[in-house]
């Protein structure tokens, strides 16, 4: 109730929208025999601060608000949205979208009555506004401190860029049964990028993090300064890096952010829409072996305060911990309402949308592999010749052919069981349905990423998390230049 009231105050009250208005819009939608309908209201406040060249260079404040109206009939979806939360505008939107149902079909006169459902799910983050968690002057002081402390770390540092971003988002979903559900979502992120120079050679390092929390997250335990130290360390390592090897070899992935492997190699391929349509390399493979029996992979939106976590998804379904792969066997897909209904399974709380101006679809939350039995050092020792990849940039997948890439930004050679020289960043490429079958050792050291991930699908970006323990893969193609 408390959250619903907060969302009403943030979105509906300023617009003068009453429950009776929501009923009118919904009844307009339901005047055609649709299978499902919803109205998604959103109000987001966003700020960012950038320090560069030793000065506070930029700041911005952005407000995004609007409503999206959707009607679903079979596999068909009608959708309209507006940034004007006004009854006549939303009624017209409802008229437009219900046309998805062929003309001539009239619904039994249903009457929607807004009813408040008790939110009996647990919350995975606090509701307070991160933008107000520190006075503006203290945000500036934090940036200045990170900048000056980072610059002191090494004389080879040429430039330091520090950014701080906060979002406070209210959403409210009205569904065809008249129920109203709401969520209040905080999100913060800080990033430090450094450029170092030595003998005319330049390199860059970058580290950041955050989550569904407020700015105190960066001050407690001095985590902000740690980002600076880590960015400098990576940049200096890369100054020493030699050409990366090229070819197929044993690859050991470090814990945490390298879990982007799971996101690209299998995560997208296990989203419900692709599997309903039969376009994924994993389509129709539930119950089959898709990984070695050391691998159990979950998508978990319920982790407290993580970047990818959601109390409810953007269709009002509570998120859950969904087992995707258990001991190597494919257990199920990630679903939104539409695809769950069409595949006759339960929704898993993975229906997400970038904003009111986008349609929801199955998306990941926090995707990670559970820990195994091996000591990480023992894993490195077991490799005679191979690559140890510790940090990554982005990745991409072709869900139909199953081919995926992810780009290492910090990597080392493994020679005779020891980590030796640093090598330049390189793209790794593999085949999704195959790569996890080659996992021969899984570490005990599960880590989640620091909270920087954004995932793009169909032009929509949403915050996500990944994680994994140290993993050994017996054969992955490394795209270096050293042939």
């Amino acid at each position: 109730m408390e959250i619903l009231n907060l969302a009403r105050q943030a979105i509906l009250m300023p617009a003068g929208i009453q429950d009776g208005d929501i009923e009118k819009i919904m009844n307009r939608l339901l005047s055609s025999p649709v299978d499902a309908a919803d109205i998604y209201f959103q109000s987001s406040h966003f700020e960012s601060w950038v320090m560069e060249g030793g000065i506070i260079k930029e700041g911005s404040h952005n407000i995004e608000q609007g409503a999206g109206v959707r009607a679903v009939f079979g596999e068909k979806t009608g959708f309209a949205y507006s940034d004007r939360i006004e009854l006549p505008v939303l009624l017209e939107a409802a008229n437009n979208v219900k046309a998805i149902v062929r003309q001539g079909q009239e619904a039994d006169p249903l009457h929607c009555k807004v009813s408040i459902k008790a939110a009996d799910w647990s919350k995975h983050y606090a509701t307070q506004n991160p933008l107000k968690s520190l006075p503006d002057q203290q945000k500036i002081d934090l940036l200045r401190r990170v900048d000056s402390e980072t610059r002191k770390l090494d004389s080879r540092i040429e430039e330091v860029i520090v950014s701080l971003v906060g979002v406070h988002e209210h959403i409210l979903v009205a569904r065809q049964d008249g129920s109203l559900v709401a969520d209040v979502r905080p999100l913060v992120r800080m990033n430090v990028t450094v450029i170092v120079e030595q003998d005319g050679q330049r390199e860059q390092g970058s580290m950041g993090g955050g989550g569904r929390s407020d700015y105190n997250y960066f001050i407690d335990r001095d985590i902000a300064l740690e980002y600076g130290r880590e960015a400098v360390r990576q940049a200096l390592v890369n100054l020493e890096a030699v050409d990366a090897p090229a070819g197929n070899m044993t690859v050991v992935l470090g814990p945490g952010w390298p879990g982007i492997l799971l996101h690209e190699a299998i995560g997208h391929g296990l989203e419900g829409d692709f599997n309903r349509k039969g376009t994924s390399a994993f389509s129709g493979r539930v119950g089959e072996r898709v990984a070695s029996d050391l691998c159990t992979v979950v998508d978990d939106g319920t982790l407290q305060g993580r970047r990818g976590s959601l109390t409810i998804d953007d269709e009002g379904t509570p998120t859950e911990k969904t087992v995707l792969i258990e001991n190597g066997i494919l257990k199920g897909y990630m679903q939104d309402q539409l695809n769950a209904r069409l595949m006759s399974v339960n929704p898993t709380g993975n229906g997400r949308r970038e904003s009111y101006a986008h349609l929801p679809m199955p998306r990941m939350t926090n995707t990670y592999m559970l820990p195994g039995q091996h000591d990480p050092e023992e894993i490195i020792k077991s490799v005679k010749k191979g690559l140890y990849a510790k940090n990554f940039g982005g990745g991409q997948v072709d869900i139909t052919s199953g081919k995926f890439v992810f780009s290492a930004s910090e990597a080392y050679l493994i020679e005779n069981g020891k980590i030796t020289r640093a090598v330049k960043g390189a793209t790794l490429i593999g085949n999704g349905p195959e790569v996890l079958t080659k996992v021969s050792m899984v570490g005990t050291d599960l880590e989640l990423d620091s909270g920087v991930g954004s995932c793009g699908k169909d032009g929509q970006s949403v915050p996500v998390g990944v994680g994994q323990p140290t993993l050994k893969i017996d054969g992955l193609t490394v795209g270096g230049t050293s042939v």
Binding site: A80, T477, G479
Partner: protein
């Protein structure tokens, strides 16, 4: 006429924003406003899948208090919201630092001529018309060959928008533009091999779109040719980037000569002005005044006049890509590129696609790139790729699950030929590009 009225209406709002900024004490200000309406229709397996009605608006304002700057934006154009947005920007400017390089453009660089660039051609296709066209396109793809096994569908998109921008130097301009597209994506299967590919056409004027049947056929043909792709052994060989992938190569080059990367010293082309970056036959230029083109515009994101100019001629870098701020940081003048380049064009050479394959002789034809493996600071380049193995100028078989790697500085210098098989669909216009030698990693 209706457009002109709406543009005038939005100009009034922008002027109000600028006035409000002055009232709140800003010494200078800049504001932009956009409104867009659109329709997207997608069909799959012969039936409607989604019908989306788009309606977007937004305003952004930047205020200066001397050399301090603050920005704010909103999707709410009400008078109250405008006042709050300006006030939010002003409040931010209290905390940002004095920056001697910040501020509006030099007045003499602002655009003063506004030719009609023929960018606005609304398409009155309607929902039913869009469905019919998309179905025709998908049908063409699905009936192209028995191995076309599934579909991600076809879609028709049409958008019309108005943009207005102004600043406290008296610049206040707006224009209407349209953008329409038709795309199709299908799957093919042979044995265990499943592949997907797509094709699209995009234009300011619907008359210039490729036909639905051509788009469908091309999507099917591109999908079929990928079936039963294999990897390659690790090797070094010449690489031919097809026109669609070659534009990515040029966009990395533009990134490296963009002001932001230059003044941060995070570019592999620092201090490269007036030096040889490409082989002598290469000319790369901007064409902002092309009628009806996707990247055309008389002024940039700050109101600075755009220029038809050579960025590279005789292989030598003649100019950077600069906004007002980055130019001042480098002690130069804006080149009218706040927001990017305008119809960047590399002069085509004498060979068509077949001729370029002959030039490649034996090597890799790249038709798809994956991932972001480009290090702008060092030029190190490593990306996932798919394409075809070519011997003696003839395509042998499709390849996938390989990477191509090199250093961009060397790759640009070692371009052997540019084709005349130009892809005109984007803001970067290039034919296929042949690079002398790269590292291929595979099985």
């Amino acid at each position: 006429m209706q457009n002109q009225e709406q543009i005038n209406h939005l100009k009034t709002i922008v002027q109000n924003i600028l006035d409000e900024a002055a009232k709140q004490g800003a010494s200078a200000a800049e504001a932009g406003l956009s409104q867009e309406n659109g329709l997207s229709v997608s069909v799959r397996l012969g039936d409607v899948e989604t019908i989306e009605h788009h309606c977007d608006q937004g305003l952004g304002v930047t205020v200066y208090f001397g050399q301090r700057k603050g920005s704010a934006s909103t999707t709410d154009l009400s008078a109250a919201s405008i006042k709050e947005t300006v006030s939010a920007a002003c409040s931010i400017a209290r905390y940002t630092s004095e920056d001697e390089y910040s501020g509006l453009p030099e007045p003499e660089l602002l655009a003063t001529e506004f030719p009609d660039l023929d960018l606005n051609h609304p398409w009155d296709i309607g929902v039913d018309g869009a469905i019919t066209l998309a179905v025709e396109c998908e049908d063409a793809a699905r009936s192209y060959h028995a191995e076309i096994s599934n579909s991600e569908g076809a879609s028709v998109d049409t958008h019309q928008g108005i943009r207005v921008m102004g600043n406290s130097l008296g610049f206040l301009q707006g224009y209407a533009s349209t953008r329409h597209s038709l795309s199709c994506s299908v799957l093919a299967q042979r044995g265990d091999s499943m592949q997907r590919d797509y094709w699209y056409t995009v234009a300011r004027n619907a008359r210039d779109l490729q036909s639905a049947v051509d788009v469908g056929n091309k999507a099917a043909e591109r999908t079929l040719r990928r079936l039963q792709a294999r990897s390659l052994s690790t090797r070094q060989c010449p690489v031919l980037y097809c026109a669609e992938t070659a534009s990515g190569l040029l966009s990395s080059f533009i990134g490296a000569i963009s002001g932001g990367n230059l003044y941060r010293k995070s570019s592999f082309l620092l201090d490269a002005l007036d030096t040889r970056v490409f082989p002598e036959f290469v000319r790369i230029h901007e064409q902002p005044y092309l009628k009806g083109a996707l990247g055309s515009g008389a002024y940039d994101g700050e109101g600075v006049a755009t220029q038809a100019r050579d960025i590279v001629s005789e292989g030598i870098l003649r100019g950077y890509v600069l906004s007002t701020y980055s130019a001042r940081k480098l002690g130069l003048h804006s080149t009218g590129n706040a927001g990017g380049v305008h119809n960047l064009t590399i002069d085509p050479g004498k060979f068509d696609y077949q001729g370029m394959l002959k030039e490649l002789n034996t090597g890799l034809l790249v038709t798809e790139l994956m991932g972001q493996g480009v290090n702008m600071v060092t030029g190190d380049y490593s990306r996932g790729a798919a394409g075809f193995w070519v011997e003696n100028g003839e395509i042998q078989y499709p390849v996938e699950e390989i990477t191509i790697a090199g250093n961009l500085k060397d790759m640009l210098k070692n371009i052997v030929a540019v084709g005349n098989d130009v892809d005109y669909r984007g803001n970067i216009r290039t034919g296929s590009i042949l690079v002398e030698r790269m590292s291929i990693a595979g099985e």
